[in-house]
């Protein structure tokens, strides 16, 4: 979650004079330490798990819901003309939609897009608890499916068969109809990947446990994390978009370089 950056010690000058950068470095170190400490502190408080089912959490979630979501989803979460009913969508759905910043939606469009998250983890958990209390639905997945330690070969195969037609074989994303699109999967957390599969946000179909078992979902996550953590063996991947980016690269940079060199070769002789 948090990386404590230990800054490299500033190189000591032989002459013993204070470098003009010394004070800047000192301030930077100070800021890093205080910032890092603050980040550590705040995450440790957040990870102090709130009891999801407690009445207090649900009450808090209801208040948050009423002030942030009810305009579109209705006060009882039963939906209005501008937003669907949330009864029965489960905690997983809320965690995905709010946790990736898709909700609250910034504006109407072909689909809600990922953006900066508007709530803290506690608030998201409270919202999820409130929505989950309305009716049973998919819960936030168990941590044992999210460890990315499964079978990546099986995950890759499942991914190619079930996911690649929209998300591209390398998870680089793809186009759908009417301006909708399947987003790139690079950098999406294991939990959000799992939740997307069980809740089917926006244009995505639901892959329930009968369809793809939780273990298989774990394999898919394992494959995606493998792609994310291992650089392309062939060098820079050009966005993993396939022949289009390769062709574009060849014409602009490859042939561009060659034409530049032909001009250079013939110019020298004159």
């Amino acid at each position: 979650m948090t990386t404590t950056n230990t800054p490299k010690p500033a190189r000591v000058r032989k002459s013993g004079r204070r470098s003009p950068l010394a004070s800047v470095a000192l301030i930077a170190i100070g800021l890093l330490f205080t910032g890092g400490a603050y980040a550590l502190f705040s995450t440790s408080t957040a990870s102090a798990q709130t009891d999801a089912s407690s009445q207090q959490t649900i009450g808090e979630g209801q208040k948050l819901f009423a002030s942030n979501c009810a305009t579109c989803h209705g006060l009882g979460a039963a939906g209005t003309g501008s937003g669907p009913s949330l009864i029965g969508v489960g905690a997983a759905s809320v965690d995905f939609q709010v946790g990736t910043g898709r909700m609250p939606m910034q504006m109407d469009g072909p689909q809600a897009e990922k953006k900066a998250v508007s709530f803290t983890e506690e608030q998201i958990a409270a919202l999820a608890a409130y929505v989950a209390s309305l009716a049973p639905g998919p819960a936030v997945p168990d941590a044992r499916y999210l460890d990315a330690q499964g079978d990546s070969a099986k995950g890759a195969e499942l991914f190619r068969i079930n996911c690649a037609m929209c998300h591209n074989v390398a998870g680089a994303g793809g186009a759908l109809t009417q301006g909708k699109f399947a987003p790139a999967l690079d950098g999406v957390s294991a939990q959000h990947i799992y939740e997307a599969m069980i809740t089917g946000p926006q244009s995505m179909p639901v892959f329930n446990d009968m369809n793809i078992s939780p273990e298989s979902k774990r394999d898919i996550i394992t494959y995606l994390k493998y792609l994310e953590n291992n650089p392309s063996p062939g060098g820079y991947a050009l966005g993993s978009l396939g022949p289009v980016s390769e062709g574009l690269f060849l014409w602009i940079f490859g042939l561009g370089a060659i034409v530049g060199l032909t001009v250079w070769i013939t110019a020298k002789s004159n």
Partner: protein
């Protein structure tokens, strides 16, 4: 070393101190008489211009392809027999795939230098077709295809088609998901041909798609038949270049009878040799830094999955684009057969497009009625209609080509897929007309400007007041070298329609006359000597 011819005709050599090189050269020459060829070729003059090196780039990338391809054949197994992958790429371990895919993965991960060679081969292939394309555009827009080079244009264009065929067969060999999807599209296109389509498809694949034969068959074509034809045609192509002599751009002292430039030995041989290594270097650099065709991402071919962003390599893109542009609902059943016009229309229109490009030199020669030899290139502006036709063709091709990436355009520019397709449909159909009109007007305007410069010189910005009170602006006359370039182009007039031997005017004659008028009716005539003389002293 000197050679003296005795009266008996026996060649007698007296050795001077040539050292080992001299002795070796002499040894070879006495047995092969190669010195005649070396003298002839070594004194061959080539003009110098960067655009004359584009064909060379194609040749060099072909050499690179041959070298890297030979390496790949050592390790590739062209078989579709199912095996389980046991190489070192973890996310495919134990997965069932064809031997072709498995050996391609082994080349990529378990054979030293294999991945580099695969990427060199693929990048060089993309460069090969691209440099042919650029070379062809240079030939077209400078009119280098005119007599006596029409046949060489045809050979070159066939080479372009063969290069695409090489590319496509190679793209299909690893038997990964992407190549299988590409083959499926070809299979669909073949099956869309009425009556014979299904038969051809079954013949090609040895049964129902994908079968177990196609990789082996494509492999034979890819490494045997196609390269042999390409090498033979390249040899002919180069032979013609030597026979015809190289064309040159217009300039002072350059005529249809001479070639101004440098001899092959020592200048060009050194330059061309060095340039090969430069091209090799660029390809190596691309291959070592940038991934191309990551088959390990695509996984083995399986007819059920299709990845988003499945496209052919760039040179087949125009055909893929044509398929994407066709509106839905063009299929109907007639005579108990399904007529897939969604496939037939692209097939036929692309076929026609290719045919027109192939025979364009003959079309233009017929329309202009020009039977002279041309060794001086046209500046594109001096052939406005040809340039405009070229611009229209390029626009048509580019519109189809960009349609092939419609989904990538949609996601990366945040527009709708449907919007992209409609825009591309517009660009494909209306774009060429706009391009024709704009290019022609630009050419004519540039020609008018040239005329203006020749007759009145450049504006110098110097205002002079004459004793009488009159103000004039002094114009700087253009120097003679520059003027040569601006005035020395051939002028064509629309052909007169003439009756034939029987005194009749045939329909063909009318078409020819009409086309000729369309080509040349609004031409700008080059400045004549008389005009030039009259304009003297008129530089203001």
């Amino acid at each position: 070393m000197s050679i003296t011819k005795t009266t008996t005709g026996v060649v007698e050599t007296t050795k001077s101190n040539g050292g080992f090189t001299g002795a070796a050269a002499n040894y070879i020459d006495e047995r092969t008489s190669i010195s005649t060829a070396v003298k002839e070729l070594g004194r061959k003059i080539f003009p110098d211009h960067w655009s004359f090196l584009l064909g060379e780039v194609a040749l060099y990338s072909f050499v690179i392809i041959l070298l890297s391809g030979t390496f790949l054949t050592f390790f590739f197994s062209a078989s579709m027999a199912p095996v389980h992958y046991e190489g070192s790429y973890v996310p495919l371990k134990g997965v069932e795939m064809s031997a072709a895919m498995s050996s391609s993965l082994n080349i990529s991960f378990d054979i030293r230098g294999g991945l580099l060679m695969r990427q060199v081969h693929h990048w060089a292939a993309l460069l090969f077709v691209a440099s042919i394309g650029l070379h062809m555009l240079r030939i077209y827009f400078t009119g280098a295809f005119r007599k006596p080079r029409e046949l060489n244009w045809v050979i070159g264009f066939i080479l372009f088609i063969l290069a695409m065929a090489e590319g496509f067969t190679g793209y299909s060999l690893p038997d990964d998901l992407l190549s299988g999807n590409g083959l499926r599209i070809i299979d669909g296109m073949v099956k869309g041909i009425p009556l014979v389509g299904t038969w051809i498809s079954f013949l090609l694949f040895g049964g129902e798609f994908p079968g177990e034969a196609i990789v082996g068959r494509l492999y034979s074509l890819h490494i045997l038949l196609l390269p042999a034809i390409i090498i033979a045609l390249i040899a002919m192509h180069l032979l013609f270049v030597v026979v015809h002599k190289h064309t040159q751009y217009p300039g002072a002292g350059r005529t249809n009878q001479n070639v101004v430039g440098y001899p092959v030995l020592p200048v060009y041989a050194a330059k061309a040799g060095g340039f090969f290594f430069i091209v090799f270097g660029v390809v190596m650099l691309m291959a070592s830094l940038f991934t191309i065709n990551p088959i390990w991402n695509y996984g083995p071919y399986d007819p059920s999955p299709v990845s988003a962003g499945t496209q052919p390599d760039w040179y087949i893109g125009f055909a893929d684009g044509a398929l994407r542009l066709i509106p839905p609902g063009l299929e109907f059943v007639w005579l108990d057969r399904t007529w897939s016009f969604n496939i037939l229309i692209p097939l036929v229109s692309l076929g026609l497009f290719i045919l027109v490009v192939l025979i364009y030199p003959f079309i233009e020669a017929w329309v202009t009625g020009d039977k002279r030899e041309h060794h001086i290139l046209d500046r594109p502006r001096n052939a406005p209609t040809r340039t405009a036709i070229g611009a229209a063709g390029v626009t048509f091709y580019a519109a189809l080509w960009s349609t092939a990436s419609s989904d990538i355009i949609a996601t990366h520019f945040h527009v709708t897929m449907e919007g992209v397709i409609h825009a591309c449909q517009f660009a494909t159909i209306v774009g060429p007309f706009i391009a024709f009109f704009v290019a022609k007007r630009v050419c004519l305007a540039l020609q008018k400007k040239d005329r203006e410069i020749v007759l009145h010189g450049y504006e110098s910005g110097r205002i002079v007041r004459l004793p009488g009170g009159e103000y004039i602006e002094v114009h700087q006359p253009v120097d003679e070298y520059e003027r040569w370039k601006l005035v020395s182009y051939s002028d064509y007039k629309p052909l007169m329609i003439r009756p034939n031997d029987q005194g009749r005017i045939t329909a063909g004659q009318r078409v020819r006359g009409g086309l000729s008028r369309w080509f040349f009716e609004d031409r700008i005539v080059p400045v004549t000597t008389t005009e030039l003389e009259q304009s003297h002293g008129d530089h203001h």
